[in-house]
């Protein structure tokens, strides 16, 4: 009976180790603080109506940013620092503490940390940021008012959130995450070697958010292919939209493979099937193949939109159209095509034979060609351009340096005989971090600082942004160049301890120092955002076009109204807005606009999806069935609801536009009394301390 009711759950599942107690205390305190703030300021209704149930891709984009940023700092980044600290302390001649034989983490705990670090950084940080950017920017760039299916978009977002909750769930119930490495290779991921619930948490957090990704990707393909402004042919589409389109097409191509593969692993664990087991005919190598068929394209799914971001930035800040747009786009398409036939380079050592290895080695080297084309179009765009060294541009230049480094080492790794030496070494780890940090993360930071004025209505503080950038660059070099060297010296990845006579410790210490500098960079980025909010009057963007942009997103006011475009623009050329500015912006003609109604269905379905996952982690079959039925009922209720739109009449649109203009004029007229430059670090610290002292003295949050 007890087993029927609560499955594998028991008292032991409650937090009882320092990190699960700490984790649940942290999350508990966070939730409590949120509840208190929302209740005191009476913002529950506002939060629900304006944000959580919103179908506006701009709001969903911002929510993606918030969730991904939180996961970057609270989980992924923290775990990176924890691993570096362990490795710096992990020399075999140093005594361990906190019950560990070396360093301060037990071997098991260290494994859980690197597993979670990989899953979180790829699924919940990089994917979250990329989806956030696509949500916010793509509809604006193509001159659309909304997405093809606003509902699928909120559903995708909330499934992503359900995945985030699932990946953190072990802090509250369960006590462990998978200790298998982020891709959980078989047969290690089977019940025989990973009997605990950690692996199930991994499966279901990836499964639920992966399904959300597939739905989101379908939606963006529909949107980009079917909802572009009149006149915008595919070859007039902005580069970021192109990058997003390529990325989303790849996502619908490979995410189903992930879904199917995870289901098979789940069957192996739940129904004792023999897909990837060692006994009764299972084939573990098939798992490696299947998961990398998804896993390799996945990194390109992340980096293609980032390429697009850089193309936009380099063109805007060089005041030039992209040099050879066609080559650039063909480069993007080439990368996406090649990326589908290189997965085997992740396991040259598996023994597929010389023929197979050579094919995949050659394909992997080929992929450098379209990538190089991209790099050259970017550099050629800068050539003879009028370059402005803003922070987005700095991130771009940093990207070129770091990413090229990562690319070249990638070509080294693509040669099978060489790979036999480097396989599973820190050299490989340094290589792919150069690409995902240098490519994806720098792309996201560049994109956020580039489009921040569009999102918030004021630009970011440039000074602190520069400091943050340099911290990242220096910290990155300090932590990953030693990692390359260590790899060449023979250090394998995922070591929690190593022999003192190897002489590796100084390098690990350097890596830790680099990690701390990166952490300072992240702190500066947070300070940058806060300082920009403080100085928003000064940084205010009244034109909607602070950088003299070229693409349509700059044609609308900042922040963009809910319907994006009061009048849908007519596109005749590439860089449509640049052309409009030259030709004179056409007079606006207001029309009725149909907008989708807010809906909470996505939230309900995701809650049920989460419960299905949770029930299957703990083998509570009745709950899984009940929740599945709940989810289906919600889907039916939503899809047979015909009343999902409302009309904003032309008169209302005109009125809204007018109020907005009046507001902007008022803000513009208001004199900013502050200093005439972006606040520096010292000034920021001084301001924060004065504010804190003031709060303590007067016991009031704001001066009235």
């Amino acid at each position: 009976m007890k087993e029927f009711l609560i499955g594998r759950l028991s008292m032991e599942a409650l937090p009882h180790e320092w990190f699960t107690i700490g984790g649940s205390a942290f999350f508990g305190a966070l939730i409590l603080a949120l509840v208190v703030i929302l209740t005191v300021t009476k913002r529950w209704g506002w939060l629900w109506k304006e944000w959580l149930t919103s179908v506006d891709p701009k709001k969903i984009g911002i929510m993606y940013f918030i969730v991904a940023g939180f996961m970057l700092i609270a989980r992924g980044g923290l775990e990176a620092l924890m691993m570096w600290l362990q490795q710096a302390l992990g020399s075999s001649d140093m005594p361990g503490f906190l019950g560990a034989s070396h360093g301060y983490l037990s071997a098991e705990h260290f494994q859980q940390i690197f597993t979670a670090h990989g899953n979180i950084m790829v699924f919940f940080v990089a994917m979250g940021f990329i989806f956030g950017l696509i949500n916010y920017i793509v509809p604006l760039q193509i001159g659309a008012r909304d997405l093809a299916s606003p509902f699928l978009n909120t559903l995708g977002f909330w499934l992503f959130v359900a995945g985030v909750v699932m990946v953190n769930m072990f802090f509250f119930v369960g006590g462990e995450y998978a200790a298998t490495g982020w891709l959980a290779v078989a047969p290690l991921s089977g019940t025989e070697f990973s009997p605990g619930t950690g692996m199930d948490y991994l499966i279901w957090s990836l499964q639920i958010s992966g399904i959300g990704t597939t739905l989101g990707a379908i939606n963006f393909i529909m949107t980009i292919l079917k909802m572009r402004a009149p006149g915008m042919t595919l070859w007039k589409m902005p580069a970021f939209t192109w990058g997003s389109l390529c990325s989303m097409i790849m996502a619908v191509t490979v995410f189903p493979l992930l879904t199917a593969t995870l289901f098979l692993v789940f069957f192996d664990r739940y129904f004792d099937t023999h897909f990837f087991t060692t006994a009764l005919g299972g084939n573990a190598m098939m798992y490696t193949n299947l998961i990398w068929m998804w896993g390799h394209p996945e990194v390109y799914i992340l980096v293609l939109p980032a390429y697009g971001v850089f193309t936009e930035i380099v063109s805007t800040f060089s005041r030039k159209a992209i040099a050879n747009y066609t080559s650039n786009i063909i480069g993007l398409i080439g990368v996406s095509l090649f990326a589908l036939s290189v997965w085997l380079h992740h396991f040259f050592t598996m023994g597929a034979g010389a023929d197979v290895n050579s094919f995949f080695g050659v394909m992997t080297i080929f992929i450098a060609i379209p990538t190089t084309v991209l790099v050259f179009t970017w550099i050629a765009t800068m050539y003879k351009g009028r370059i402005r060294m803003t922070t987005p541009m700095l991130w771009f230049l940093g990207f070129i340096a770091v990413f090229t480094f990562g690319g070249v080492t990638g070509v080294m790794l693509a040669v099978p005989p060489v790979d036999f030496q480097f396989h599973n070494s820190l050299f490989l780890v340094a290589h792919f971090h150069s690409n995902v940090i240098g490519g994806v993360l720098f792309g996201v930071f560049a994109g956020i600082s580039y489009w921040f004025p569009k999102i918030a209505g004021y630009r970011l503080n440039e000074r602190l942004g520069r400091y943050a950038f340099w911290c990242w660059m220096i910290g990155f070099s300090l932590s990953f160049i030693p990692m390359y060297i260590l790899g060449l010296m023979g250090a394998t990845r995922r070591l929690d301890t190593y022999d003192a006579s190897s002489g590796w410790q100084p390098f690990y210490v350097l890596m830790l120092i680099g990690g701390i500098i990166i952490a300072v960079g992240v702190a500066l980025q947070l300070a940058q955002i806060i300082a920009s909010v403080i100085q928003k009057r000064r940084l205010h963007d009244s034109t909607g076009d602070p950088w003299e942009g070229r693409t349509l997103e700059w044609a609308v006011p900042s922040p963009a109204p809910s319907y994006n475009f009061a009048t849908i623009p007519q596109v005749t050329t590439r860089d449509a807005y640049w052309e409009m500015k030259k030709q004179g912006i056409p007079a606006r003609k207001f029309e009725d606009i149909r907008m989708p109604k807010n809906t909470a269905s996505g939230i309900y379905i995701s809650i049920f999806a989460f419960l299905v996952g949770f029930a299957l982690v703990w083998h509570i079959n009745w709950l899984a069935i009940v929740s599945l039925i709940g989810a289906i009922v919600c889907v039916i209720a939503r899809t047979f609801n015909d009343d999902t739109e409302y009309v904003v009449t032309a008169a209302e649109v005109e009125k809204m536009e007018e109020t907005r203009m009046a507001k902007v004029r008022a803000l513009h007229a208001e004199k900013d009394t502050g200093p005439d430059e972006d606040m520096g670090l010292l000034e920021f610290i001084k301001l924060v301390i004065t504010w804190a002292l003031n709060v303590i003295r007067t016991r009031r949050w704001r001066n009235q």
Partner: protein, 209 residues
């Protein structure tokens, strides 16, 4: 007064046409999106087919496909499902014409044929289970049950979807939303037919190669 009415009429007309355009565009998008979804589903099946291709020989001394499968049964299943696709197509023509009763009749027949297919499939599964085989017996059975069972699960969801849609047709009548829903459903149903053709070939026929 007359001018007023005239004005209203043109306005009503223009609203109607823009609504039509809006509706047609939305239909077009949804159909396209559903095609993309079908492709993702097909890729999931591709994984299961690949897995079956790799594992079907791994019977670990137990019986293999040629010892177990009944060709007449598989042929009967195939014919039933193909017929159901045909009736589904006729039902769709009726839906486009707005003939509610014919929609109910033809989709009703489709539903019954789907049910017949499902019962044959379940019978086959039940027989294997009676003989002592299960998902966990060996890799061959794992991949067989999961591949064919996933198709069966799709059939179940298709039938469920059909049932719910027909209930709505019965209650609300054939409005444009429901016609669109039926169009998506018939796409889904034809898609399952195609997947079954591959299952019939790769699982049932090639077992004897």
């Amino acid at each position: 007064m007359g001018v007023e009415r005239y004005k209203d009429k043109t306005m009503a007309e223009s609203v109607a046409t823009s609504e039509m355009n809006h509706e047609a565009a939305a239909n077009d998008r949804v159909m396209f999106g559903f095609w993309v979804y079908l492709m993702t589903d097909l890729l999931m099946f591709a994984v299961l087919f690949a897995v079956y291709a790799v594992l079907h020989g791994n019977t670990e001394g137990g019986p293999g496909g040629s010892d177990l499968f009944s060709q007449p049964l598989a042929l009967a299943e195939t014919l039933i499902l193909l017929t159901s696709s045909f009736t589904c197509g006729i039902g769709m023509i009726a839906a486009r014409r707005g003939n509610k009763n014919q929609v109910l009749v033809w989709f009703g027949i489709t539903f019954l044929l789907g049910l017949a297919f499902l019962s044959l499939e379940l019978q086959e599964f039940a027989e294997f289970i009676r003989e002592g085989h299960a998902l966990s017996s060996n890799a061959f059975f794992s991949s067989f049950f999961v591949l064919v069972g996933t198709h069966g699960l799709h059939i179940i969801s298709g039938l469920f979807w059909m049932f719910v849609t027909l209930v709505f047709v019965l209650v609300r009548g054939l409005n444009r939303h429901l016609v669109r829903k039926l169009a998506l459903l018939s796409l889904f149903w034809h898609f399952l037919d195609i997947v079954w053709i591959f299952i019939f070939t790769i699982v049932y026929l090639m077992a004897y190669v």
